[in-house]
Amino acid sequence: MAVKVVIPTPLRQFAGKQDSIEISAGTVAEALSGLTNQYSELRRHLFTDEGKLRSFVNVYLNDEDIRYLENDQTPLKDNDVISIVPSIAGGRPAPSFCR
């Protein structure tokens, strides 16, 4: 399936300065791995060292959070739009474990 992946502003510098990328994939997982194979510098921002999607990366398929679909196994149709939406989180160090 030919789909479009929308790249958020902070990651465009690692995707040839493009704001979206056309990719051919059958599932969300395939689309994201295709994307990071093509633009390897994106990988550390999207995936953990173990290759799992980082918990603070939100992925939307046509405006629906993939957590409400079949997560990264969600199948794709032609012309689907996948949006990578960075979770914005932070805070001061918590007591006890000082993070």
Binding site: P10, H45, R67, S87, A89, F97
Partner: protein, 159 residues
């Protein structure tokens, strides 16, 4: 990155400081909207948004806490992605950009934590306001290094 400067209008600085004070002892957060150019970023507006950690159930669904005993709205913030998408869209439609985000550190210095680093994104400006016993004090700005190893301090000026 060191010569890139963040410019923040005094009105927006006031919005951030007031939000930090009103939210104490909880963390506040918001979105910085403006224009990015070769010489740096110019904020036009600071847009306060709710700290989704106040809605623990929804926040945990989106970004689970490592420790429910030690993490709460007093030391964590999370922006609702739906709010973020809405503001991002409006911003683009008016020809502007989301330049970064601000949050407060209640009773803690305005220095990024390891948690900030682990959850940070490159390019964005992360403005941190220290609020000590309810009083807004130092405000700093930071940009995550591209290799995620830490933050570079980003000089900012009011205007």
């Amino acid at each position: 990155m060191s010569k890139v400067v963040l410019r923040i209008p005094n009105g927006a600085v006031e919005v951030i400081r007031k939000h930090g004070k009103e939210s104490y002892p909880n963390e506040c957060c918001g979105i910085l909207v403006g224009k990015a150019g070769d010489s740096g970023k110019e904020v036009l507006q600071a847009v306060p948004v709710a700290n989704l950690r106040l809605n623990a159930e929804e926040a945990d669904r989106l970004l689970p806490r490592e420790s429910v005993d030690f993490e709460s709205e007093r030391n964590r913030f999370l922006i609702d992605p739906k709010e973020q998408i809405r503001i991002e869209r409006e911003t683009r439609e008016s020809g502007l950009e989301v330049l970064g985000y601000y949050h407060s550190h209640p009773d803690h210095p305005a220095r990024p934590s390891n948690y900030d680093r682990d959850h940070g994104w490159p390019w964005y400006s992360y403005v941190i306001l220290s609020v000590i016993q309810g009083n807004p004090e130092e405000m700093t700005s930071w940009v995550l290094k591209d290799d995620r190893s830490g933050f570079d301090s980003e000089p900012w000026t009011g205007f």
